[in-house]
């Protein structure tokens, strides 16, 4: 039973196709407005694409092409949605909220409550059964919402930044809970947090401007990002351009020399990737060493752990506070970013 999706929505510049195994969880990463929520709305049937097809096994969710026009209503899709806000029905107790899915599927009141109780205890919320949503904390409400989504027994669970509205104490708890309940389950989780992708997903998809720019196993994408967004998430600098023997040449004519991957061939599109910690900052240009040296204007300085992160446009360097003070760095200053070629990985984009 594979989940398969192809969908285009011209009004939002959205064009995505993806597939998901029966027990696979993928994380969708991407900047704001990239079309992440659009994707979930299309899958759950809340938004109609211009064209495309989606199936779960034999079940057709929609098939909108030239000669067919199948559109399954949201309530018959089996795609439960968990949003940023818990959105528990305020007039029902936690138990009745969780029992809502089974009740809608035709279960008797008693059977639905039994199922609901099971799922409430599954998310360690059985003691909250009789509470109204107004009496729950954000973390508790989101746990009940997870139970409610699971109690509907969905073929595909859609999670739209479920941790985003929680405070720093509640989020790790919910993340652990999701790790437990998502095991062996098909789910798509939208997130801004790289930790969610690492802990919960088998695979990540990077969505930018309505299109998939990168996908692969989570670890691989983070270790060898090919898109600027994924590099940003992994905390790496990424320079894209054309590969030559000298390194990667950008459209602006900047050449970055580095350690070239065996698979990369001259003339190909490639990326040069290096961590900010490999970047040194100098006030004058260094000569005579096999190094990359780029003149940049500092845009921002910010604390980053026990280091200072020096941002210059899209590149960043991590240096010690002492070094920053010695150099007298301030935004607007012109400096040189220097990186050893050995610290730069070059591979195909």
């Amino acid at each position: 039973m594979t989940f398969q999706l192809d969908a285009t929505l011209a009004a939002r510049g959205f064009e995505v196709s993806l597939s998901l195994g029966p027990a696979e969880t993928i994380a969708i990463l991407g900047p704001n407005g990239a079309g992440k929520s659009t994707l979930l709305s299309i899958i759950s049937g809340l938004l109609r694409p211009d064209a495309g097809k989606a199936t779960i096994g034999e079940k057709v969710l929609f098939d909108l092409s030239a000669d067919t026009n199948i559109w399954r209503a949201p309530h018959t899709r089996g795609t439960a949605l968990l949003a940023q806000e818990a959105l528990l029905f305020p007039h029902l107790s936690a138990l009745d909220n969780v029992a809502f899915g089974p009740r809608s599927a035709g279960a008797s009141s008693a059977a639905a409550r039994e199922t609901a109780m099971h799922w409430l205890s599954e998310v360690d919320a059985d003691s909250l059964a009789s509470r109204r949503p107004g009496q729950l904390s954000g973390g508790q409400a989101q746990r009940v919402a997870v139970a409610r989504a699971l109690a509907a027994d969905p073929d595909l669970l859609l999670l739209d930044e479920p941790m985003a509205a929680l405070d720093i104490h509640a989020a790790p708890l919910l993340r652990r809970l999701l790790k437990r309940v998502l095991a062996g389950r098909r789910a798509i989780i939208i997130t801004h947090d790289i930790l969610d992708a690492l802990m919960l997903a088998d695979r990540v998809i990077v969505l930018e401007d309505g299109r998939i720019t990168e996908q692969g196993p989570t670890r691989e994408v983070l270790e060898k990002p090919r898109s600027r967004f994924a590099a940003g998430l992994a905390g790496l600098n990424l320079v894209a351009g054309t590969v030559s023997d000298a390194g990667v040449t950008t459209a602006q004519g900047m050449v970055v020399a580095g350690h070239q991957d065996e698979s990369v061939e001259p003339g190909q599109d490639g990326v040069a990737v290096f961590p900010p910690s490999a970047v040194s900052v100098f006030l004058t240009e260094e000569h005579g060493s096999p190094r990359n040296s780029f003149r940049v204007i500092i845009t921002d300085l910010e604390p980053h752990g026990d280091q200072i992160r020096v941002r210059a446009g899209r590149l960043s360097a991590d240096i010690t506070p002492a070094a920053s003070a010695d150099l007298g760095l301030v935004p607007g200053m012109s400096v040189y970013f220097v990186i050893k070629a050995a610290a730069i990985a070059i591979y195909p984009a």
């Binding site: 759950s44 049937g45 809340l46 209503a73 949201p74 309530h75 018959t76 899709r77 089996g78 795609t79 439960a80 949605l81 949003a83 806000e85 959105l87 029905f89 305020p90 007039h91 809502f100 899915g101 809608s104 599927a105 107004g134 409610r148 989504a149 509907a152 859609l158």
Partner: protein, 273 residues
């Protein structure tokens, strides 16, 4: 939910209080004047006279019936106006709200030319042996006509405030549209629906112009309390004042019920719109 506190900063200039006090006085003073004019020794006999009780009973029955009609017709209207955008929606809203600003007499005339003996539908109804004009049914129709916008406006506001996020979640949990309406939408906007129904009831209770034009003034059939008051005013001012006070009491009770703070903090703005 924000509770009014006596110590918090309000940001209201002092002169606003003076004008607000004048406004409150403007509303209260006529009531006081009327109460002062009541012939208390005759009060009980006046309001318990046969014609008064008949009129009061008719008023309460027809107002209850028209409130029910308003709910039956108004809930779908409000849902359609608040939820699904369609061409001509603004126009439909304008027409639904028209009775709010239309002189009731005009509404009565319009109804007469619709349901009256020579009216648009009246002719066919007459052939079917149904006569509506100058019957109790006509009173209910006239009241529904003028009271419907109150329910629609109030409920549409509540629906818009509540948004459709809960409905979307309910659908993805497997609830069919009918279930969503019954178990999610209506319970969420219940305060708005209740206040809309109460306002419709109050408007129906006070309806005069459309009723007189379309239904006439037959004792026990179409003569509601406002019509009875108007009639008594010509002959027996004491009776008119006593009955007016009765109507004020009913209205105050109704509005008092309506404007209590909603228990659930779901759609407080919508509920009070």
């Amino acid at each position: 939910m924000h509770r009014r506190s006596g110590t918090g900063y309000t940001g209201i200039p002092a002169w606003i209080y003076a004008i607000a006090a004048a406004g409150a006085l403007f509303v209260l003073l006529p009531l006081v004047a009327m109460v002062a004019r009541v012939n208390w020794s005759e009060f009980i006999p006046l309001i318990t006279s046969e014609s008064s009780l008949t009129a009061l009973g008719l008023s309460l029955r027809t107002s209850a019936a028209s409130t029910a009609s308003c709910i039956v017709l108004g809930v779908p209207l409000a849902l359609i106006l608040a939820r699904s955008p369609f061409p001509g929606q603004r126009l439909l809203r304008a027409f639904v709200l028209l009775p709010l600003v239309l002189p009731p007499v005009v509404g009565g005339i319009a109804l007469l030319y619709t349901f009256g003996r020579q009216g648009l539908l009246g002719k066919s109804l007459e052939l079917a042996g149904i006569q509506i004009a100058f019957s109790t049914t006509a009173v209910v129709l006239a009241q529904t006509y003028v009271a419907l916008p109150f329910l629609v406006v109030s409920l549409e506001g509540a629906l818009r405030t509540a948004g459709n996020k809960y409905e979307a979640v309910a659908a993805t949990l497997g609830a069919r549209p009918g279930t969503v309406l019954r178990r999610v939408t209506i319970p969420l906007v219940l305060p708005g629906l209740a206040s809309g129904a109460v306002l419709s009831f109050a408007r129906s209770l006070g309806e005069f112009g459309a009723t007189l034009t379309f239904a006439g003034s037959l004792q026990g059939v179409t003569r509601t309390l406002p019509l009875e008051i108007y009639l008594q005013r010509e002959t027996d001012a004491d009776a008119a004042v006593a009955l007016s006070l009765l109507l004020v009491a009913v209205a105050v009770a109704v509005v008092g019920l309506s404007y209590r703070r909603p228990r659930l903090g779901v759609a407080p703005e919508g509920a009070l719109r």
